[in-house]
Amino acid sequence: MLHPVMFRSLWQYRGFVWGSVLREFNGKYRETLFGAFWAVAGPLTMIVIYTVIFSQLMRPTLSGHESTPFAFSIYLCAGSISWGLFAEMLGRLNNVFLENGNLIKKASFPRICLPMIAILSALINSGILLGIYLLFLLIIGHWPGLPMISIIPLLVLQLLFTMGLGVALGTLNVFFRDVGQIIGVVLQFWFWLTPIVYTLQALPEGARELMQFNPLLPLISAWQTVFLDRTWPDFASLLPLVVLTLLMLWLGAWLFMGRVGELVDEL
């Protein structure tokens, strides 16, 4: 991943990468009557349900946002989008080599294209969701304004972290198929151990302390800050995640580069 040859071959195969991403997107809705509408329908449903349930039926209040309409929906969606991207990307990277086993065995092309296709596909899905979310914020009059720019570095950081971790796990998964199973279980726990559906403040003191070990917490919090509080996130809190990201990228590159040749023998 960190090797110049890899970047060069990836660039050479950009047609294949981009073509595959588009085809995957088109392929999903190809035989449907409403086509791309379905790409929007899922995310739209999610936002509508969250809004109806939490602002009309359950009405949980967020401290400091008692007067903000739809406060909990905004909070919930911000966390869900970020988490959704992470979970989808990780899940796909995890299986990317196994799923494309036949292609890897029969065709010779730079293998790094496959994780790239998975990453971009996941990004498109989340992009649609984010677009609808922004539209929703605009309609309810809660446009975040300038601090929204910070979403870009947040996304980059998240992508790199997930990429490193995902490629490492995806490579491992070929040799140890248990990895795929473990990830499914871990993701479930991880989701509920991250304040997405609940707030950090709602937790007792001890639990809040423990929560500091969750590397995704500052990232998700940053999203929530940007969209709900409409202020700049605390970038300093992301430092541990930056370090961890570098570590993950190195780990992913080391595992992938070291084992890519052996990969095909196990598929």
Binding site: G27, K106, F175
Partner: protein, 415 residues
């Protein structure tokens, strides 16, 4: 510049004694696997424009070798140097998706070979033209017959002339028409300097396209040389899995003569006689000849079938059959007996050198039990004595019917 250098290539797959052994190996760093070698110490070079065929029974390591050469798999030992644009037809239609149209799949198939969208757009008319699937190009791939899919896939894979073309049995599919067409394209590539590497069981393909053949057995090169010679050796190997000796001796005609088998029955003499019973070496076109094959029985056997065939100079079978198909199988033969087989036919052959191939087997084919198998048991010349000048490997007493037509009226009536 195209080149292909395979140096001491070996490939071993790791075998672990148990499920946990790999984990233990990764953690402790101590080797816990044994190596299962499928290729060992393979070296050869292919010059630019040369065509090399790789043959061998299933499991001999042919496909693994191609995978290593194309870079799909990594060699455990040795190295492969390959230069220029490489196209590999390991499996046609890789990356195709059934729900997309043929046109969209062309893009996909070409992109996986590293082509860009604009390039593919330019090549599209040529690809469509070669595949000859008409309006189907804009229909989903799942509505295609397998032949059509393969036409499209072949057209895509060979849209640009590669410097090195690697083919794995891909050509054995498709109808005769398209096979001819694809062979033509491959030949043209060869003439333009493309280096070819073909894996096939098809004797014709190897002999007509390749300059050289390599026989693999259990991951090792056992024979390398002229395609005909190697194919003969291969047929002999294939003949039986019983213990038997395969030996090749240089016959008088300077071509290698292969003979193999269990020798429970053995051909001792092959002679050609003309209609008057005179022994001859040169056969006039169309003459009635009798080939007498003398067979000695070395052990009691419960079945004997003689296979007889005539091959041309290139080793291609012109005609062949056996006494099983003519329902003349000998059910029983005792040790010491001698059987004479007289095979009579019109020598409807073209001018040139031909050889007689004979085999003694127990049943219909040589795979079950092979007593004796000889390629080029007898070589003879065919000369044109009393026929009009003609070309080709077969004589055919054709007739031209020619009429001069002076009136246009007559043409319309005639046709």
């Amino acid at each position: 510049m195209s080149y292909l250098n395979v140096r001491n290539v070996g490939k071993a797959y790791k075998r672990y004694p148990g499920k946990w052994a790999r984990l233990a190996e990764w953690i402790t760093g101590q080797e816990r696997h044994e190596k299962h070698w499928v290729l060992r110490d393979i070296s050869f070079e292919v010059a630019p424009g040369e065509a090399v065929g790789i043959i061998g029974i299933n499991g001999a390591g042919k496909s693994t070798l191609l995978k290593v050469i194309t870079g799909t798999a990594q060699p455990t030992t040795g190295s492969v140097e390959i230069g220029g644009r490489v196209a590999a037809l390991l499996e046609l239609g890789m990356g195709f998706h059934p729900d997309f149209t043929g046109r969209q799949n062309v893009y996909m198939g070409a992109q996986i070979n590293g082509l860009f969208t604009e390039q593919i757009g330019e090549l599209m008319p040529k690809i469509e033209d070669f595949a000859e699937i008409g309006d189907y190009i804009d229909q989903p791939l799942r509505t295609y017959s397998s032949g059509m899919q393969m036409r499209l896939a072949f057209s895509v894979a060979t849209a640009i002339r590669p410097d090195v073309l690697i083919i794995d049995e891909a050509l054995s599919v498709g109808d005769a028409y398209f096979q001819h067409k694809s062979f033509d394209r491959i030949r043209k590539f060869g003439a333009q300097g493309t280096t070819l590497l073909i894996v096939s069981h098809d004797r014709n393909a190897i002999q007509t396209i390749c300059n050289r053949a390599i026989l693999l057995k259990a991951g090792v090169v056992v024979k390398e040389g002229e395609p005909e010679e190697v194919m003969d050796y291969y047929s002999a190997l294939l003949a039986d899995h019983q213990s038997q000796i395969v030996k090749q001796t240089i016959s008088v005609e300077q071509k290698v003569k292969t003979d193999s088998g269990t020798y429970e029955a053995q051909v001792t003499q092959v002679e050609i006689f003309d209609a008057k019973g005179q022994k001859i070496e040169v056969v006039p076109v169309g003459a009635w000849v009798t080939v007498r094959i003398t067979v000695i029985i070395n052990r009691d056997i419960d079945g004997l079938v003689l296979g007889f065939g005539i091959k041309d100079r290139l080793g291609q079978m012109v005609f062949g059959t056996n006494t099983f198909h003519t329902k003349q199988r000998i059910e029983e033969a005792k040790k010491g007996e001698i059987c004479l087989f007289d095979v009579s036919f019109h020598a409807n052959l073209g001018v040139g050198s031909f050889s007689i191939h004979c085999s003694l087997v127990r049943n219909e084919s040589h795979v079950e039990k092979n007593y004796h198998w000889i390629d080029r048991a007898k070589v003879f010349e065919v000369v044109n004595v009393d026929k009009p000048l003609f070309v080709g490997c077969a004589w055919n007493n054709i007739q031209f019917k020619i009429k001069k037509v002076s009136d246009a009226q007559e043409i319309t009536m005639d046709s």
